[in-house]
């Protein structure tokens, strides 16, 4: 039995924990929080797209549902943040269930278009139910989570640690799923759903389960975002943002847990850095997507899988003809 969480994850975690101290300015720390939030969301997308091959083009909407649920629970009903956070997960998952039940029968690009449609509808509802969400004006004045003893969540670094904690939990869940019977069923479905169902896998049940977990996690990320940004509006949860999440996952490597995290962090910083070139920013972004899908379809994780074994061989001084262990 292989260990699910190996040493490199502990190193990554340690690195993530010291990061805010390496960059003691507010702006970089803000970006770090946003990068970690993106990592949680992209990991949630990976749970459905990476593991079952179903592409969700409405994922930002579930993120939005989490954000609004949690913010409204706290502001209108006075629910404590932690409870609202759980509420955001529950409602995210529930919406995922309601959306997933009718459309998870669909394959490939039909599912993608259906989720895109749902994403747009959810966004329109958020925009138009002015009485509840204040619509396009957005929802200002969301309180930060109450301090627990010395942990003051209005402090960026403390909040960063909170997000890293959630990310770590999500990563562990993802890795656990990958190594379980459930995960292997999902991979079988991804490879060929007809063959998988012939093997006795209940394709639909597993897809729905994966989608509900995925949208629940997206809801959690949304809640964390709302109580960090302290202001939310429907514009942040549009189809463009859903596409952005897909791009992050693609660059990191679809289907890879470390890839999802890497892609999210990398692109958060890259798009921030591209701001210097202002109007060319999105043009370059588009070219980047084209370049990655055509030349490195496996993303960063694909590259790593290709180069790491070679590097290892070189380090161990093995002969050139050695057969690399295929996958892990």
């Amino acid at each position: 039995m292989k260990k699910t969480i190996n040493l490199s994850w502990y190193i990554a975690l340690a690195f993530a924990l010291v990061l805010p101290w390496l960059f003691p300015n507010d702006y970089t720390r803000h970006l770090l929080v946003m990068a970690m939030l993106a990592a949680v969301t992209v990991s949630s997308l990976n749970l459905i797209h990476g593991m079952t091959g179903q592409l969700s083009l409405g994922h930002a909407a579930f993120y939005g549902i989490g954000a609004y649920t949690s913010a409204l629970l706290v502001m209108r009903l006075g629910v404590p943040f932690w409870l609202a956070f759980l509420g955001a997960i529950a409602l995210g998952g529930l919406t995922g269930l309601l959306v997933g039940l009718p459309v998870l029968h669909l394959r490939g690009h039909f599912f993608a278009v259906a989720t895109l449609g749902f994403g747009e509808i959810i966004n329109l509802v958020l925009t138009n139910s002015v009485g509840l969400t204040r619509g396009p004006m957005g929802l200002p004045g969301i309180p930060a989570p109450k301090a627990i003893g010395p942990l003051d969540f209005t402090n960026r670094v403390i909040y960063y640690y909170l997000v890293v904690l959630v990310l770590a939990i999500v990563v562990v869940i993802s890795l656990r799923i990958q190594d379980s019977k459930f995960g292997r069923a999902l991979l079988a479905i991804k490879a060929d759903d007809v063959a998988a169902s012939a093997m006795g896998i209940n394709v639909f049940y597993f897809r729905v389960l994966a989608f509900v977990i995925s949208t629940g996690v997206a809801g959690a990320a949304g809640s964390l975002y709302a109580h960090y940004a302290l202001f939310i509006s429907p514009i942040t949860f549009s189809t463009t943002d859903s596409v952005n999440l897909v791009v992050m996952l693609l660059v990191g490597g679809t289907g890879s847990v470390p890839g999802a995290v890497t892609g999210a962090v990398l692109l958060t910083f890259l798009s921030e850095w591209l701001r210097q070139v202002r109007e060319y920013q999105m043009v370059i972004y588009g070219l980047l997507v084209l370049g990655v899908i055509i030349f490195v379809p496996g993303g960063m994780a694909g590259l790593a899988a290709k180069w790491l074994p070679a590097l290892e061989r070189r380090l161990k001084g093995g002969k050139r003809g050695d057969v690399a262990p295929s996958q892990r």
Partner: protein, 279 residues
């Protein structure tokens, strides 16, 4: 009236979808480029409106061809979702390139036909809308002849049926796919250049257009030309009626609700008897 332009736009998309099994997210950008190029030619170079529309159609046709060559041909053997993501990239690229060239602000595009009004069974109808309707019908007819009556059309249908077999039978598939993209992009450009004067022209105008096109394509059945034609008109009517009777705020949502209903209950489209997808 609106339905006829939905149809034009969706026809291009369904052609490409039938051929490559690709939902082309860049299709809306062909639409908006068509509008922008026609606008530039008509307003800046002071060419007559109809000539500008024609030139825009040709130019965007070539852009469509080029984008097939650069963004989709390298992925011919990749999974279908890679093609879809590639089209997303192309869409982001083209949309922001348009924004770079023409700026983000909406522009007015005046057409001489806007001022005309035509009496029609006691209703007065705007000349531009009559023009849209007439030209759309003309182009649809032309496309029908191209596909059903010419050698190129036969090759296109063969490729849509099975790319590999067609290639084995001596069809130059690369050329045919490129031509299909040219025709598809040209149709979208025609829709954009014709609709531009009715609304305003701005870089993200393609977004709504391509969403509508998806709906029409799915309603009509993938790659089904006549299905797309009928669905275009039906969606145009449903939307107008729903906006009037239900709520205009949720007008855009109606198209998506239709989309999802069709996907759930009749994923093969409204006009086909159900079939099982081959493994």
């Amino acid at each position: 009236m609106v339905g006829s332009s939905f149809t034009l736009n969706a026809l291009g998309m369904t052609l490409i979808l039938g051929m490559l099994d690709l939902i082309n997210f860049a299709h809306g950008e062909f639409f908006s480029l068509g509008a922008f190029i026609a606008l530039t030619l008509a307003v800046v170079l002071k060419l007559p409106y109809l000539l500008s529309v024609a030139l825009a159609i040709v130019v965007v046709g070539f852009i469509g061809m080029a984008s097939e060559r650069l963004a989709f041909r390298p992925l011919r053997s990749a999974p279908r979702l890679s093609l879809l993501i590639s089209s997303l990239g192309l869409s982001i690229f083209l949309q922001n390139l348009a924004q770079l060239i023409w700026g983000p602000d909406p522009r007015d595009f005046s057409s001489p036909f806007l001022k005309l009004s035509v009496e029609f069974f006691g209703f007065s109808v705007n000349g531009q809308r009559v023009l849209i309707f007439g030209l759309a019908l003309g182009l649809i007819g032309l496309l029908y002849v191209l596909i059903q009556r010419t050698d190129v059309g036969i090759a296109m249908r063969a490729c849509a049926y099975d790319l590999q077999t067609a290639s084995l039978l001596g069809v130059r598939t690369d050329l045919v796919v490129m031509l299909t993209f040219m025709v598809g992009a040209a149709l979208a450009a025609a829709a954009g250049a014709l609709l531009g004067p009715v609304f305003t022209v701005y870089p993200t105008m393609g977004l709504a257009a391509k969403m509508k096109a998806f709906v029409v394509v799915v309603m009509g059945g993938i790659g089904n030309i006549s299905g797309a034609i009928w669905s275009g008109f039906i969606l145009g009517m449903v939307e107008t009626l729903a906006a009037g009777f239900i709520s205009s705020q949720y007008k855009d949502a109606i198209a998506f609700i239709v989309l999802i209903l069709v996907l759930v209950f009749k994923p093969t489209g409204l006009f086909v008897r159900s079939s099982v997808e081959k493994v």
